[in-house]
Amino acid sequence: MMNGFELSMVSARPALLAGDANTVNVLIRVQAPDAPKTGLPERPRLNLALVIDRSGSMAGRPLQEAKRAASFIIESLKATDRASVVAYDNEIKTVAASQPVTDKAHLRALIAQIESRGCTNLHGGWLKGAEETANHLSSGSTSRVLLLSDGQANEGLTDIDEIATQCSKLADKGVSTSTYGLGESFNEQLMVAMARSGRGRGYYSESAESLMERFQEEFALLSALCARNVRLHLTPMPGVRAEILNDFEAAPDGSWRMPDLAYDGEAWAAVRLRVSGAGLLAAGEAFNLLKASIAYRELDEAESHLPETMLTLPVKTAQEYLDVPEDESVLLRISEAEAARIQEKASRAARRGDWDQVEQALEETRPMAAHSPWLAEVVASLESLAAQRNQVMYAKEAVYASRNLSSQIRSKHETPSILADVSAPMFLQRKARQGRSSQSREPGKPKEQ
């Protein structure tokens, strides 16, 4: 087992109130090792498929930027990595079959020849990329499809649930999926669902100009990965009910799938416990509430576990209980996870133009932002879009903000201020505006026309 992984559990108020039912908010952290000071160890081999939308709507700048980003990925790969390039509209074209990246100039030239045309067979393009990747699966390498689209899937299979299910099944077999939505017309529900189920990352760019940054972020993440397939097992003790607030998928064995871990990062879960049985707890006792354990896969495919941890809290009288201070870092994550749920719903409300519900969601979210400067900035961005009655962009911003608030890995050394993130790797930075580059962080500023 690689040393340096840690599992910890902390409650917002580390105490229980005697003689009463209790609600306890808990933060579970799974921390990766620090990045070695001498630099990251050699990253695992990558086996990537770059799947590029070449439908008519991509004509001009979007396709240019997509090709530039794809060329960047090719340029960043090593000769021991593999890459394929697939372009799709209503037809699927394998621009470059999966091959070792030994002739970068040739691959870049093939990418440069991609031209826009036709409709959007998104599923077909993804599947072709997945096939290219699956043909060269090997242990110890990271296999991923990077799917870019600016439009709605309108050819081939288009059912979101079915496509997401396929992404999930394929991720089980070792091929993950990251998605890149570009512009205003792509289907954010589909792209987020594919990334979530495909156990990759979901990115979106309001403009082609910020697309490159998303690819750089993904590449930095892939280079710093140190644990995959991280699963959290929770066992509430008798008399305790637990609710997980993050948007995690349940694995068949009942565990929760957390994001892959990179050096310096932490995956986390916000859990709400309800301890029933008034009169059950007497002051002076200690009460076991929740058992947690972590399983994950190391990069060489070895299965590892972190030792089981039990959350035990002392039971206190009312006065003693009130004297125990609350842990701000726990309240912050609880607020962010709850806000994520509300904004996920608000995204759908915005999509159908139900501004009353959007305003209500913002109303519910504002007080939560008191604990989280990041959330405050996210809310400010969303308020700006709501004020403009910008249905399309609110829906996108809210759903991606929701996803990032709920399940993005965080810096182990995170402080509430997001300004401190500047020195962190890109994939650990918290963005105020999900669809823009990290440089444009002024909240509330309308999109340049």
């Binding site: 299979l157 059912d159 394929l170 609710e243 995690f248 349940a250 068949p252 064995d253 009942g254 759908r348």
Partner: protein
């Protein structure tokens, strides 16, 4: 023990008894929690004697005889894993298992109790036999696609799935299909080591109507429960609209 459903064997035989045990052990090792007894640390090992015992008790069909050797197939593996799961993590009694198996086909077990590990079970079979199932073929109609890894096999299935799929799907249709998906899952509750830990899932039936359910509970919904839910929803909506 012979039941009408049970007679629907899945496919040909590919394993000796030792190989069957090895295949079962690999599946169990990948998801040990599904096969562990909640009150017992030790997991009784599979061995030839135990397999014989299961055959005698008619939990597992008799093996096919090839000369002096017994040969086992996918249905044997399915029944073996089902017995282990029911005995260990679900704490069923032997008579209850016997009664249940009399009317349950291997395909029903794969689609129900064993659904969470179906892929792994079938991969064992494919790996042993070098055959893969196409999406539309029944289990007994398998085609040869040797040397494909599990991801490639899955993609072959998806290709068949995706062909000609319709893109128009009304919200109410989506809901029916979601309910159908719930119903297909299980006839027995799958073990949940995290029982008591929930996550809320919001199902938008129409833009103006949303159902909030426990995401993990879906996995253990029976068809009867789904039907009851549907009826309850209908009756509640009628009551509300009559006010």
């Amino acid at each position: 023990m012979v039941g009408s459903n049970r007679d629907k064997a899945l496919a040909g035989t590919v394993w000796t008894v030792e190989e069957l045990i090895e295949a079962a052990e690999r599946v169990i090792a990948a998801d040990p929690v599904l096969f562990s007894h909640p009150e017992s640390e030790t997991n009784k090992e599979l061995n030839i004697r135990l397999i014989r015992d299961y055959v005698v008790r008619e939990f597992i069909p008799r093996p096919e005889r090839v000369g002096r050797e017994g040969r086992f197939g996918l249905d044997h593996l399915v029944y073996l894993l089902a017995v282990r799961m029911l005995l260990r993590s679900q704490k069923w009694s032997l008579p209850a298992i016997k009664a249940s198996f009399a009317t349950t086909s291997p395909e029903e077990l794969l689609g129900g109790l064993l659904a969470p590990i179906r892929d792994r079970i079938e991969a064992e079979y494919w790996s042993a036999s070098g055959v893969a199932r196409t999406q539309d073929a029944t289990a007994s109609q398998r085609v040869r696609t040797p040397d494909l890894n599990p991801a490639q096999l899955l993609i072959e299935q998806f290709k068949t799935n995706g062909r000609g799929a319709s893109s128009s799907k009304s919200p109410s249709k989506a809901f029916s299909s979601q309910l159908a998906d719930f119903a297909k899952a299980v006839s027995c509750p799958t073990p949940k080591p995290t029982a008591g830990v929930s996550r809320k899932l919001h199902l938008e039936l129409e833009p103006w109507c949303e159902v909030v359910i426990d995401a993990q509970r879906i996995d253990s919904l029976t068809r009867e429960e789904v039907e009851r839910l549907g009826e309850a929803l209908k009756s509640r909506l009628k009551d509300e609209s009559a006010r």
